[in-house]
Structure formats: structure tokens, C-alpha cells
């Protein structure tokens, strides 16, 4: 009896100590908070982080996911803001990999470090989405890890003529009820992007929404478009998230869906998706949404954080890992990256959505205030 008790106590003590000990870090650990789906977290954990440790043997990268959709980025924002408000030094998030929406907010609230100028590959960071986002000047604060395009994926077994425009999509959905799916505005940004695209289409006022000015009077415009979306949704399957749409497509429950192009490619590579399912763009367009690498202002390992971002921005890494292995569009200047990508990978990447399509149909997300207004209208009007 006493012996078993002693053994029990020893085991308990071992576990109780093991817990806090896993937090003891004699080496440098770069804390990377990834506000994106599990597949993105794994890229950092199993590929980019590992590569970084090989080059810098005493540095480990600890990548953790914070959820999906905008809520995930919000979680990063909340954590960083709490530490800022408390006046602490040495924040526990070094690299925040967050959405455009929250990157803009964090820049505005002075929570991020302006580091791109010090980077080795900083000069390759270009594009309109690295200058301004949601009406905030973000130059020097963000490096896109990749750019992600929302598209309509279709199953050629059931859809002989994919739609080329929102109008055609509307007609198709009416003829094939509950065979189109997207995730609404919860659980993932692919659905939010589709909603934005819908609003651009119905109002025809893309420039107003992207460049402003913000005027509350335009609420009627938004509500009109959302009311039509509500009617559209009657014949639509609303899924639970980005992955939900892909899963429904895979199971044959829907024949077309609004998806992230990269996630579609990733699922195909993992053998979880029918390889025939193809993405297309529809007129007038769907948003492209970058995922930003940022460094927090008072990060505990700020310099190592910047070095890590540098690794991810390296054209070689962008070509081999980001584009070839995972099928994302490059985060830095494509002219620097695409020449390094194999032609086979390029063919797979641009299957269904060509660079030409991207040039014509890729759209920006709207201003922050309009973004919020559209989402609120959706929540109120669409049930």
C-alpha cells in the first residue's frame, strides 16, 4: 500500500513538473502565432520552422495556430494589445501571421514593428496590398507570406459549363438548388470574400468600397445587395467554414463552392480531394487576400523574428515551399519568384485560374468601415 502510494506520488510529481518544464527555454524560441487554418500552421511548424532551426541551430520556432477566420487574427490582436496596455516589455508573440484586417488595425494602434526596411529581401516586398490596407498606411510593417485567391471550385462530373460571371452563377444556382455552397460569414474568410464579391457585383461600386470615402448613407446600397444575397442563399448550402465547403465538395454534397485556391490545391496534394475539381474566376471578380507576416513592436525576440520573416520572404523559399509545395501565390514580387518555379508546378498552380484571370478578376477587400458594415448587414438580414 505504501509502496504503491510512493510510486503514485513519484509519477504525479514527474508529470506535474514536466508541464511547467516544457516552458523552460534555455535556447531562443521564436514564438509564431498563426491566425490561419491548420495547413498553414503545419507549414511553419514542419517546414519553415525546421529550415530556420537548421540554419540557426540554437533557435527554435514555436508555431501555434490561433483558430480560423478573422477570429483567429483577433485572438492575436487581443493578446498583443493586452500586453501593450499593461506596459509590458518582451511580448510573448514575436511573429504574428495575421489577416489584412487586423494587420491594419494593429498598425493603426501602434502594436507592430516597422521592420521591412531592415530585411535582406525587403526590397522584394511590393504590391498595392503592402502599402495600404483597409485605409491604413501599412508600408514597412507587413510582408505577405502568400496571397490567397478566392475562387469558385466546380466538379466537372456534374458541371459541364462552369459559370463565367456572378449572373451566370445566379442562374445556375436557381436551376440547381443546394448544389452551391459557401460558408457565410462565419468560420472562414472564403465565405466573407464571396459576400464582398457579391456586393461589388450587385452595386457595381467597387471603387467606392475600396477607396472610399466612407459614408453611412451608402448603407442602403449595401442592404439592397445583401437582401438579394438572402434570396440567393435560399438555394444554397451554407457550410461551417473554409474546410467545410471543401469537404462538402469532396463528398458530392455540393457541385460548386467558394473556396481558397491554395486550400483546394493542398487538399488535392494530401489525397483528400478529387483531383478533377477545378477553380474558376467569375466576373466582375472575387477578392484576393494576403496573409501577412508581422513583427510585434516589443517582441521578446524581435531581431530573430525579423530574420525568420526574411527566411519566408527569400525568393528560393517562396518558390520551392510556398508556390511549388503548397500552391500559394507568391507573397513577394512574383517576377522574382516565378522564374524559380518548375513548369510542372506552374501548370498545376494556374490550372483553372490563369495569371490572366488573376489580372482581370482579382479584387481587393473593401475599406474597414465598409467591411464591417457589410458583415453587420449580412448578420441582420440573412439568417
Amino acid at each position: 500500500m505504501m509502496r504503491t502510494l510512493a510510486v503514485l506520488v513519484a509519477v504525479v510529481a514527474a508529470f506535474a513538473v514536466a508541464g511547467p518544464v516544457t516552458y523552460a527555454q534555455p535556447r531562443v524560441t521564436v514564438q509564431v502565432a498563426v491566425a490561419a487554418d491548420v495547413n498553414v500552421v503545419e507549414v511553419h511548424r514542419n517546414h519553415l520552422g525546421v529550415a530556420f532551426s537548421k540554419i540557426n541551430p540554437h533557435v527554435t520556432v514555436n508555431a501555434v495556430g490561433t483558430g480560423t477566420g478573422e477570429a483567429a487574427s483577433r485572438a492575436v490582436y487581443t493578446k498583443v494589445k493586452a500586453q501593450a496596455d499593461a506596459g509590458r516589455k518582451g511580448w510573448d508573440i514575436d511573429v504574428g501571421i495575421i489577416s489584412m484586417r487586423y494587420a491594419a488595425q494593429m498598425v493603426r494602434e501602434k502594436l507592430l514593428h516597422q521592420f521591412v526596411g531592415e530585411m535582406q529581401f525587403g526590397q522584394y516586398v511590393s504590391g498595392p496590398d503592402t502599402d495600404r490596407a483597409f485605409g491604413v498606411d501599412i508600408k514597412g510593417y507587413v510582408v505577405p507570406m502568400f496571397r490567397n485567391q478566392i475562387a469558385i471550385a466546380y466538379n466537372p462530373q456534374f458541371v459541364s459549363r462552369p459559370p463565367k460571371s456572378f449572373a451566370e452563377l445566379e442562374a445556375w444556382v436557381r436551376a440547381n438548388p443546394r448544389r452551391f455552397g459557401y460558408n457565410g460569414i462565419k468560420g472562414g474568410v472564403s465565405g466573407i470574400g464571396f459576400t464582398m464579391g457579391w456586393v461589388y457585383y450587385k452595386t457595381g461600386r467597387y471603387d467606392l468600397f475600396v477607396q472610399g470615402p466612407f459614408d453611412k448613407a451608402n448603407d442602403g446600397l449595401i442592404r439592397g445587395a445583401i437582401e438579394q444575397l438572402r434570396d440567393f442563399n435560399r438555394n444554397v448550402l451554407i457550410t461551417s467554414g473554409n474546410a467545410g465547403t471543401l469537404d462538402a465538395l469532396n463528398r458530392g454534397e455540393i457541385w460548386m463552392g467558394a473556396v481558397w485556391v491554395d486550400q483546394l490545391v493542398a487538399w488535392k496534394n494530401e489525397g483528400r480531394m478529387n483531383p478533377d475539381i477545378t477553380p474558376v474566376m467569375i466576373a466582375p471578380g472575387l477578392p484576393i487576400y494576403p496573409l501577412y507576416l508581422t513583427v510585434t513592436r516589443e517582441a521578446a525576440n524581435r531581431d530573430w523574428a525579423a530574420k525568420y520573416v526574411d527566411l519566408v520572404a527569400n525568393p528560393q523559399i517562396q518558390a520551392k515551399v510556398i508556390v511549388e509545395q503548397f500552391g500559394w501565390y507568391p507573397g513577394i514580387d512574383p517576377n522574382r519568384v516565378m522564374p524559380l518555379v518548375s513548369s510542372a508546378a506552374r501548370a498545376l498552380l494556374f490550372r483553372g485560374v490563369t495569371p490572366d484571370d488573376l489580372a482581370r478578376y482579382s479584387r481587393q477587400m473593401p475599406l474597414g468601415e465598409y467591411y464591417d458594415a457589410i458583415l453587420l448587414a449580412y448578420e441582420e438580414i440573412v439568417r
Partner: protein
């Protein structure tokens, strides 16, 4: 523990039903139905955990293997497991240490103090947890407890104390005061009596409390999700994340791993969870 009976009453009859064929068929049918209803959904998890490739329209997995079980040895799942178990152990120890004094007090105190104390600890389970924990998370962020081991232990204690306080109170109540009186009459102090007489007698209750709190903490999800994110992840949170990404195989493997401690304890400690112990829960 036989519980108290009025003098002269008869002991419980156990399973003295008719032994005819009808009764046997009836019993077998009941067990079969329960097996299907209780174990069925869990078998679905087992199936998914070994499905290396399974997509529609196949009715069963196209390819079976242990590829996803091998993930247990990989960093993130193993980390979540270790973290979860150590949090649960620390929570259980803390729960026992803090609840024994108050449970003894509640068991021995004059009315209505005892019931009031019991109700106080029931509140975190009676009230919806998510809004309270979300509010606690806001506070924890301010106090620098969010995302820490200690913060998660604290939030586990809030919900878990009810199990240890209620169980220990019931157990202490069941230990008659006569024994303590005898010791005191022989000269022992109040505290000494407690440690030498009462507590050893209450050991089965201590074990039962520990099991309940341990399992509660291991399985706790809501508080950990809100307070622990993003660095302190336990198995339930890990499972949720995997499930979000439709990684159903990994989610199923995690789910089954989560169940192992519970099942082991269920089998090993079956005798401590006799229904009679819980009869006291019905009477304040």
C-alpha cells in the same frame, strides 16, 4: 458504505428477478441495445482513426492503416497530451488541498452554512460557463494570466471545485460524529482528531474526488480555449482545431486518446463510484 437505514428495515435485494427464459432474453436485449447506443458512436471514431484514405462515395474507408496513430509521437499532439495531464494533476492536488477544509466545515457546521457553501460551489456549474469564462479571460489578460499554465489551472479549479467539495462534504457527513466525539473525549484536539480519525476514514472519498476533478480538468474545453490560447493547449483544444480543419482522422485519434484515462479510471475505480455515494447529492 451501506448508508443509513431505519432500524428494522430490510437490506437491499439484489437482482432477484425471475430467472426464466423471458428474463434472460430481456436482459440480453437490453445489453445489446445499450451496446449499440453507447458504444456505436465511439466505434465511428475508431473507424476514422484508421482511415488512411476515405472519401465519397466509398461506404467504408478505402485504405486502412495506422499512419494517423503514429502522429501521437509527434510534437504537437504529444505536447498537448503532456500539458493536459500535468495541468490536470496540479488542478487535482490544488482542489483537494483547498476543498478538504471547507468541505469538513460545511459538513459539521450548523445550518444553513453548510448548504450555502455547497450552493456557492455549485454556481460555476449551474451558470452558463462560456460567458463567465469569457469575462474571466478578459480579466486574465489584464492580470497577465492569459496563456499561462497557472491561468488555466485556475480556470479549471473554478469549475472543478464543486466535484471535490460536494463529494468530500457528503463523505464527511457520512462519517458519524460519534467517532470524533470518542477521540475528543479521550483528550485529542479537534484538529488532531480530524487528521488521525476522520481523514483516514474519508480516504475513499478523497480518491473519488480526485478522480472526478482529474477527469474534469483533463476534459475541460471552454475555459482552456478562452484562457489558454494560444500557447497552453490541451487535448480537447487540439482536437477542436483538428476538427475545424476537417482533419477528421487526427481529431478521431485525439478523441480516442482523450478517452483512455477516463476509461482506465472507470474500470479501475468502479467500486468508488457506487451509485449509493451519489444518493447524498439529492439531499442537501
Amino acid at each position: 458504505m451501506e448508508g443509513r437505514r431505519a432500524p428494522g428495515s430490510k437490506p437491499q435485494a439484489r437482482g432477484r428477478g425471475p430467472r426464466g427464459l423471458g428474463a434472460i432474453i430481456g436482459r440480453t436485449a437490453l445489453v445489446a441495445i445499450l451496446l449499440a447506443v453507447i458504444v456505436g458512436p465511439l466505434l465511428g471514431l475508431v473507424l476514422w482513426s484508421v482511415a488512411e484514405r476515405w472519401y465519397w462515395p466509398a461506404v467504408f474507408p478505402q485504405q486502412i492503416g495506422t499512419k494517423y496513430w503514429a502522429r501521437i509521437t509527434q510534437g504537437d499532439l504529444l505536447g498537448a497530451l503532456t500539458r493536459g495531464v500535468s495541468i490536470a494533476l496540479v488542478t487535482t492536488a490544488a482542489a483537494l488541498v483547498t476543498s478538504v477544509p471547507i468541505a469538513y466545515g460545511a459538513a459539521r457546521a450548523r445550518l444553513p452554512l453548510g448548504p450555502v457553501v455547497l450552493m456557492l460551489f455549485l454556481l460555476p456549474q449551474a451558470f452558463p460557463q462560456l460567458p463567465v469564462f469569457a469575462s474571466a479571460a478578459v480579466l486574465f489578460y489584464r492580470w497577465n494570466l492569459a496563456g499561462t499554465f497557472l491561468g488555466v489551472v485556475l480556470i479549471h479549479l473554478v469549475g472543478g471545485l464543486v466535484y471535490s467539495v460536494w463529494t468530500m462534504t457528503a463523505v464527511f457527513r457520512a462519517i458519524g460524529e460519534e467517532i470524533e466525539e470518542a477521540a475528543i473525549n479521550l483528550g485529542a484536539s479537534f484538529t488532531r482528531t480530524f487528521f488521525r480519525i476522520t481523514l483516514p476514514l474519508a480516504l475513499p472519498g478523497v480518491v473519488a474526488s480526485s478522480i472526478l476533478v482529474f477527469i474534469y480538468s483533463l476534459d475541460e474545453f471552454t475555459g482552456t480555449l478562452l484562457v489558454g490560447a494560444p500557447y497552453v493547449t490541451t487535448l480537447p483544444v487540439y482536437m477542436y482545431t483538428a476538427s475545424l480543419g476537417y482533419e477528421l482522422q487526427i481529431a478521431s485519434v485525439t478523441a480516442l486518446v482523450l478517452m483512455i484515462p477516463g476509461v482506465v479510471l472507470l474500470v479501475a475505480m468502479e467500486r468508488f463510484l457506487r451509485a449509493e455515494y451519489l444518493a447524498f447529492f439529492g439531499r442537501l
